[in-house]
Subunit: 416 residues, 2 copies
């Protein structure tokens, strides 16, 4: 991509009402822009990061037999009344509207109910199970105060996976597979080292749910972490009996701030029973389906990466989720010889399908290009200038030292 | 994909209130399911078709310098008031709701206003133009009567592209490029031969807009078509002066039914002026940006393909948009030798990244597998049975005759 024509160039300032680091850096870097409090537009650079995250998650969820669907935003109140969750006193983040016919309609904030109802059309026998269904879908949540940038938005894309099993044992076995898939996802997204499985409240139906908490000074949550065992307890269930239950020692637990980047729940029969999702087992008896749900908010994940991976100059994207791998800075482009070299390197990388952003702007100083590159945070900065001649200077975003390579050496390294 | 575990197996009957052929076939085939009138869930098979269409459109729009973004569903009323389109008497398909704070909020039915406003943050100089911005985004339209299945839905994914140019001449030049991109899209989607550019009303700001109309007996629109010149006139502007203007002869025009699969408009300064999207030109004067908009509804495109490409047995997907390329039917799978052969062919195709659906069900008759395959409409049906021995039978969905190949010949053909 040519930076000169890209929609979403860097900005010196973020909007004054954005106090969170993630929104400030993402807006200044040209990744997102604000539509209103809690609703962010993905600009071309931000959409590239979103697609990288989506693909990582898709691969890991498909590896545990997930099948992808796409549910609707418009929601039928009758489905939600069956579980009691149409009531604003039970679910307090509904956006509701009216059909032109005058009937009520909901805008999706989650999808347990409609997916459970959908499955009643397809599940009759034990042979129809298990099923693991996921989607990447927009959720609308009417938060009273949207805050913390993309960490707590009113509109966000979520990967939500739901498991449908024949028994609690089967649910438990899949739940362990999902845990491993979640570790893989956070590892591949570059935040695995700082992300810990955390015991949290299980609500009315399970003793615990599990959160994935990424330790970060700016986090809203407080967790008690055993770093060695890589297990944490959320403050909400930090009680002596829980600590003992989990075989942890209070003296090894460290109080730290963290951001919840994922959560997984055993729903058991909470939704299948009121919605009539049952199956006929091998012995001819009718049984309820055992369910689990497994969520990751993609904007929140992106924001967490930014909160964790930055310095005073800007973002430092982990390689797997960066919008591009290389950021070529062409300096002294008014010199036709330099311009030709930089253009050629860019063209060669493109031909080799290497992901590359090329700052080809003519009317911008070297200093501005350097600081834009640091703000945007692409893993490898490549400088081509009058000074570099037939060579070029390559530097990793998170390292201080640069290296001089010939253009041929670089092209070989880049795999083009 | 193993058909035995797929969510969304075929159904004998569509819901009684679905009178359109597209919804009947897509629901019976397991491609979509109905959430409510005008809102359809994409099941795994349907999502595969949607992704194929998305990728074709993305490639063609990127080829004319389109940059992809993702706007929000939540809409700020203030933006829409500036163009007068917040008013329900002007736009009669709004879904509106309230923020928890009590303020009004809109749910997006289109994106001219928010995108134009977004661009005011990035466009100042003639150097910032042109820009061609597109997205694949969910639209919510509060139609009084949702009808015709996926052809006129209340919720649907649209590819909307908007062009931003310095002058009317530049807009006109891009408009011609977009026309060619649209031809390419419909050709690749398999309906190019039946799709005609059609002159339609341009509203208040242009003489004409252009629709892409696919001729089809079940179409809602009436067009007057010159088959030789591949040009049509929509009934709404079928007047003597228009016919003359376009250099057409009334005697060569044939009245036919058609489905609108795309439309393109010159918006000129309709949105840039009220929203203040201007730029400073080379001569220092401030000028309004010239805009165009270019839409394709993806569900409608899928539905049009189904309305056009079917026979009494089911869907006949064009190869480029089919959910899978091959549909292996394993018959006599209770014979371990046959099962091993079929399993091996499937595994070999998977290893070669060939798109394949494998009907591995044990408890289903050969007749049922054949009729399911015809209903689902995958281009190549591959039968492996006791009778076929070390060979297999391959048949194209739209041809009567089958061919016998050795397993090796088939694997070579499939590229695995």
């Amino acid at each position: 991509m040519l930076y000169s024509t890209l929609l979403g160039k860097t900005k010196k300032e973020a909007p004054k009402d954005e106090t969170s680091l993630n929104a400030q850096l993402l807006i200044r870097g040209g990744f997102v822009q604000k539509e209103m409090a809690g609703a962010y537009i993905y600009m071309p650079l931000g959409l590239k990061v979103l697609e990288k995250l989506t693909q990582i998650i898709r691969e890991e969820i498909e590896a545990i037999e997930g099948q992808e669907v796409l549910m609707t935003t418009l929601q039928n109140p009758e489905t939600w009344k069956k579980t009691g969750r149409w009531d604003d006193r039970v679910v307090d983040v509904w956006f509701k509207s009216k059909l032109a016919t005058g009937a009520d309609v909901g805008l999706a904030n989650t999808h347990e109910e409609p997916l459970t109802e959908l499955l009643t059309k397809y599940v009759q026998s034990y042979k129809d199970l298990p099923l693991y269904i996921f989607q990447f879908q927009n959720k609308l949540r009417n938060e009273l105060r949207a805050k913390s940038g993309l960490l707590r938005a009113r509109e966000f894309i979520m990967k939500d996976l739901y498991s449908f099993n024949r028994s609690e044992e089967e649910l438990n076995a899949f739940y362990e597979l999902a845990k491993q898939a979640y570790y893989n996802i956070f590892n591949r997204a570059g935040i695995g080292d700082s992300t810990y499985i955390t015991f949290a409240s299980g609500g009315a139906f399970s003793k615990f749910s599990h959160e994935y908490q990424t330790t970060c000074e700016t986090g809203e949550d407080t967790i008690y972490l055993d770093r060695e065992k890589r297990i944490a307890i959320n403050k909400e269930v930090y009680f002596d009996d829980v600590i003992e239950d989990l075989g942890l020692d209070k003296n090894s637990l460290e109080e730290v701030k963290a951001i919840e980047v994922g959560n997984i729940f055993k729903l058991k029969t909470r939704f299948s029973e009121p919605l009539g999702l049952t199956y006929t087992d091998e012995d001819g008896t009718e049984k309820p389906v055992y369910m689990g749900s497994y969520g990751i908010g993609l904007g929140r994940l992106m924001a967490t990466i930014v909160e964790l991976c930055n310095d005073e100059k800007g973002i430092i994207w982990p390689e797997n989720v960066a919008p591009y791998r290389f950021h070529i800075l062409g300096l002294n482009l008014d010199d036709p010889e330099v311009k030709e070299k930089a253009d050629n390197v860019y063209a060669t990388l493109l031909e080799g399908s290497v992901e590359v952003l090329y700052d080809d702007r003519m009317d911008v100083s070297a200093g501005e290009k350097f600081s834009d590159a640091d703000l945007i945070g692409i893993p490898y900065r490549v400088v081509i200038s009058k000074k570099t001649g037939n060579q070029l200077e390559i530097k990793k975003r998170n390292e201080a030292n640069s290296e001089i390579l010939t253009i041929e050496e670089f092209q070989k390294l880049a795999g083009s």
